[in-house]
């Protein structure tokens, strides 16, 4: 089976006006579903993925043959229980797992778009994914959930479609991408662009990929997903399969070897141009500015019940930035819960087996779902 057979695609025929001014139409969104949509169609959850995620949130990813990115949280009997809920997850536009992106074929040239692909925003991603609700004939979602860039999509979704979800769980995210995070993304982009093979984004024609640049981008980013304490505990100054320093530039330390490995496996599954486009979308995200400096206005029309979650050791999307969302909701009397989970696993905590986090998600979803069902009876 080739890639296209393993990827479910929905073709959006309605034109979508992007923030950059261009309009796209007849474009594909690759999606996956987990669990079963009930008859009343009131158990649907839309899960948004982060920068390098895709629609394969749970189970085995048929393209990479690795576990789905949210396997700890999502699946039968798990925090987001697919025995109970119907979960939709789709690849963002700009991505490289079957949705419309820079590696899609430009019909005008019969070659991949490369950097001729329009710049995408979080708003565009969310507007594109909204069509999935129409496709599944879901009047109102039970929940929208996501961490990191997925959390930004949660915020944008509720802002764009105030009454299309009963609940929302933005995790380890921000309402406005910080200077630090723009800087880190720029570091990744520059490392890709500095790779000679990148060829201004038209590398597919040369059949030589900017793997080195993309690997370095991933290595740098990977450090930011961990915490100093987590790194120290896991690696310390341990040496990699050697008894002493070699006085050279091979990977003497385990942490070096680990990062090199992370970089090398990443290039097999991710497209360099997609990395540029998606990091750009994150950098452009500023929901506070969209509402003229008043974040509360973004949620004014919504009755969605929020639960915001942050992690103690996340320095990429720190608690203070997550708390801003809580404050904006409280300021207009909206229903919002908030918890900061203790974890040494850094920003990555939301993807890992962090018991308190998983229990929080599970309890919030299940009790909210029970309450909704009580009301209906």
């Amino acid at each position: 089976m080739n890639k296209t057979e393993k990827v479910k695609q929905l073709i959006i025929d309605k034109p979508l006006k992007l923030d950059c001014g261009q309009t796209i139409s007849n474009f594909p969104i690759a999606y996956e579903t987990y669990g079963t949509l009930n008859e009343k169609k009131n158990n649907a959850i839309l899960a948004f993925h982060a920068l390098t995620g895709d629609q394969f949130a749970s189970g085995l990813n048929p393209i990479t043959n690795k576990e789905g990115w949210w396997n700890y949280a999502l699946g039968p009997g798990k925090a987001i229980d697919t025995n109970k809920y119907f979960v939709i997850c789709s690849n963002v536009i700009g991505g490289c797992m079957g949705s419309y992106g820079p590696s899609s074929i430009n019909p005008k040239t019969n070659k991949p778009f490369g950097t001729n692909f329009p710049v995408i925003t979080i708003n565009d991603m969310v507007n594109a994914q909204y069509h999935l609700l129409e496709f599944f004939k879901i009047e109102k979602l039970f929940s929208v959930v996501g961490g990191s860039m997925g959390g930004m999509q949660v915020l944008q979704f509720v802002s764009n479609f105030p009454n299309k979800s009963h609940t929302a769980i933005p995790i380890a995210c921000t309402a406005s991408h910080s200077a630090q995070n723009i800087a880190l993304n720029e570091l990744g982009r520059q490392s890709i662009m500095a790779d000679h093979n990148w060829s201004n984004g038209f590398y597919e024609e040369n059949k030589k990929l900017p793997d080195k640049g993309l690997a370095v981008a991933r290595m740098a980013a990977h450090i930011t997903y961990l915490s100093k304490k987590g790194l120290q505990e896991k690696f310390g100054r341990k040496l990699q399969e050697r008894d002493d320093l070699k006085f050279g530039f091979d990977a003497d330390f385990q942490i070096e070897s680990y990062l090199r490995y992370q970089g090398s496996v990443f290039v097999d599954r991710f497209d360099a141009n997609s990395y540029l486009y998606i990091t750009r979308a994150m950098d452009y995200f500023d929901l506070i500015k969209q509402f003229n400096g008043n974040l509360s206005k973004a949620f004014e029309k919504s009755n969605t019940k929020f639960f915001v979650i942050s992690f103690t050791s996340d320095w990429l999307y720190p608690t203070s930035e997550n708390r801003e969302i809580v404050i904006a909701l409280n300021a207009i009397g909206k229903d919002v819960g908030f918890v900061e989970i203790t974890s040494d696993k850094g920003h990555d905590s939301f993807l890992l087996d962090v018991t308190d986090f998983l229990n929080t998600v599970k309890n919030f979803l299940n009790t909210s779902h029970n309450k909704l069902n009580e009301k209906r009876i």
Binding site: I327, I332, D335, G337, T360, N363, S368, K371
Partner: protein
């Protein structure tokens, strides 16, 4: 459920909007939520207690009452509850002001330092009193600003805060706990 919680719950009007400041493990919130009003949320500083509240399906915000009440708009709740934590704040006066800013009415309970057993402890033993309501030793108590029922009533009168204060001398001697409804 604690007797105190029963009394507090009875002070709250049906279907009103409530904030429980320092809601602990959510026991009181749960009772109010199930019996009096579903429009209730809590603010709690301890992560463990926040988890317990989430388990109970309650809306809870992890935060510190001394600074996080700021985020709520004026008079955004019909009732704000503060159960036996006033004495533990660094700046109780500021917390009282904040309670009265965000709530139309505040229900405040305090362990009464004028309670006869406490007076006897101090008078005859000459040591810091230890009672059911004040179980800690002087060196590990979280309480920073102890007061008696009379102190609290006097304070409210001085600050023009409306407070229920019948049988003051009797209560100040015989009640272990002071339970007040205050409003501006």
């Amino acid at each position: 459920m604690k007797k105190e919680f029963n009394i507090i719950a009875n002070l709250i009007e049906k279907n009103s909007k409530v904030l429980d400041v320092g809601c602990g493990d959510g026991e009181l919130m749960k009772y109010i939520n199930e019996n009096i009003t579903s429009d209730i949320r809590g603010l709690e500083i301890s992560k463990k207690n926040v988890q317990r509240c989430v388990e109970k399906g309650l809306t809870v915000i992890e935060g510190n009452a001394e600074k996080d009440l700021e985020q709520f708009p004026e008079l955004s709740f019909d009732f704000v509850i503060l159960s036996q934590t006033l004495q533990a704040f660094l700046d109780p006066e500021n917390v009282i002001n904040e309670l009265l800013r965000v709530g139309k009415k505040a229900i405040v309970t305090i362990p009464n330092f004028g309670y006869w057993k406490i007076r006897i402890d101090l008078l005859f033993k000459g040591t810091m009193p230890i009672t059911k309501a004040l179980p800690n030793e002087w060196y590990n108590t979280p309480n920073l600003h102890m007061c008696s029922i009379k102190d609290f009533v006097n304070y409210c009168n001085r600050k023009n805060i409306k407070i229920n204060s019948s049988n003051l001398s009797f209560k100040n001697l015989f009640y272990e706990l002071g339970i007040f409804i205050i409003e501006k």
